[in-house]
C-alpha cells in the first residue's frame, strides 16, 4: 500500500467502478442519438467516471513522483469505534423487523452507550429504555410512523 498515495488508490478503484457502470449500461441499450435509450445516461456517467479517475490517477502519480505518499487514513484514530457503530447500525437494520422496534432500540442504544464511550450501567439502562419508549411515543403513537412490531406485540 505504501507504494501508492491515497489518490492513486481511490483513482484506481473509481476506474473499476466506472468500467462496471459503463458495461452494465450497455445491457440496457444505448439507443440511437436521435432517440436515446435506457442505458444512454448511465453509460455517459460511467465513461465520465473512468475519464475523470484517469485524470486523477495521472495527477496523483505526478504528485507521487514529487513525494506525496500514502497518508495513513486510520492512524491516530480509534478506528475500532466507527467499526462498532457501523456493526450496530447494520445489526439494527437487520434485527428491527424480527425483534420489533422497542426491544431492538433498547439493545442498540444500550450497546452504544456501554461500548463506545462506557457509561455507568444505570445511565445505560435508563437511557436505553427511556429513549426507546420516548421515540416510540413520538414517532409511532403520535406521528403514526408504523414502526415494526416484534413477535410479542411491541
Amino acid at each position: 500500500m505504501a507504494k501508492f498515495n491515497n489518490d492513486q488508490v481511490s483513482g484506481a478503484i473509481w476506474i473499476a467502478v466506472g468500467i462496471a457502470v459503463a458495461l452494465g449500461s450497455l445491457r440496457y441499450g444505448l439507443g440511437p442519438l436521435e432517440s436515446p435509450g435506457t442505458g444512454f445516461l448511465p453509460f455517459l456517467a460511467g465513461c465520465a467516471i473512468v475519464l475523470l479517475a484517469l485524470i486523477g490517477l495521472i495527477q496523483s502519480t505526478l504528485k507521487r513522483r514529487k513525494g506525496t505518499g500514502w497518508t495513513p487514513i486510520l492512524q491516530g484514530v480509534l478506528w475500532q469505534k466507527p467499526l462498532l457503530v457501523m456493526a450496530a447500525l447494520f445489526a439494527y437494520a437487520l434485527l428491527m423487523k424480527p425483534l420489533g422496534f422497542i426491544l431492538c432500540t433498547v439493545l442498540f442504544i444500550g450497546f452504544l452507550l456501554r461500548t463506545v464511550e462506557p457509561q455507568r450501567w444505570s445511565v445505560v439502562i435508563v437511557g436505553a429504555i427511556g429513549t426507546a419508549l420516548g421515540a416510540f411515543a413520538i414517532f409511532d403513537v403520535w406521528l403514526k410512523a408504523q414502526l415494526p412490531q416484534g413477535p410479542w406485540g411491541f
Partner: protein, 333 residues
Amino acid sequence: MKIATRQWLRMEMGMVGGVCFFLLVFMLALPGFAQAQEKYPAKSINFVIGYPAGGTTDICARPLVNAASKILGQPVIVVNKPGGGSAVAVALLKTEKPDGYTIGILPSGAVLSQHMRKVPYDSAQDFTPIMQYAVYLYGLVVQSDSPWKTFKEFIDYAKANPGKIRYATAGAGTPQHLVMERLAIEDKIKWTHVPFDGGGPATTALLGGHVEAISQTTEWKKHVESGRLRLLAVYGEKRMIDFPNAPTLLELGYKITAPSLISIIGPKGLPPQVVDTLHGAFKKAMDDPDFIKAGNQMDQPLLYRGPQDLEKHLVQMNQEVGTLIQNLGLRKE
C-alpha cells in the same frame, strides 16, 4: 467525562421533565391515537397516480379520492409518480403488498405500453381490478398563431416536411401516442414524438413553442378556450360537447379512435372484503358533486365498471390493442 455527564444530567433533568410533560399533553390532546387495528381501513391509504399533478387524470381523481376518503373514514393520500405514460407507477404498484393500503390508477396508457415495449408488468394479470370510473377524451392541438388552421393543413405540411413536426404527449405508449403513430403509418408521415411526464408539462412545452403540436387529453382545454391554442381534431367517436367545431378522426376519413380507460386497481391478491370496501366507497364517491364538476370541467366522461366487469374488460382490451399494435408493427423491444 462521567462527571460532566452527571452534572449535565442533574442540570438538565428539570428541563427534560418539562419537555416530556409538554409532549405528553400534546399527544393526549391529539385524538384517535388508540384506534383498534383490526378493521380495514385502519390507517391512511396511498393512492398512486402515474401522471403529475395538474393533468386531467390528477385533477379528476383528487375529488374522487377525497370523497372516498370521507366514506372510508381514513385519509387517502394521492402520490404522483409520473413517468413512462403511467407505466412507472403501475410497475411500482405491482411490487406493493396486497393489504389494501396502496392502490392506484391504471390508465389506458399503462395498458398500451405493455404492447408497445417491454415493461415489468401485465395489466391483465398482475393486479386486482377494483373499479373503472371514467374514460379520456383526446385532441390534437397546435398554437393559435401557427399556420395550420385545419387538421388537413397540418397533415399536408407534415407530409411535405418529413421530420419537421415534433409533437408532445404525456408519455410513450399512451393512446394519444398510438393515434399519432397510426396517422403516420396511414399518411406515410415522418414526425417526432417527444414524450413528457404528463399532459401539463406537454402543454407547457407547446405554449413555450418547444414543440409544434400536442396529442393529449384535455389539459389544453383552458388554453383553447382562451384562444392561445387551437384544437384541430378529436379522437373520440363523437365530437366533444364543449368544442363542437373540432371534427373527429372518423369524420376526417380515418378509421382511428383512441382506446380509453381510467380505472382503480390494487396489487394482485387483494382480499375480497378489501376490494368490496374500496369498490363500495369509490362507487359512492362517483356521486360526489365535486368529482362530477371536475369531470365536466376537464371533459372526462364518467363510465362505471365494477370489479368483475373491469377484469373481463382488461383481458379483452389487452387482446384487442395487443393484436392491433402487433399488426401495425409498432412493438419495439
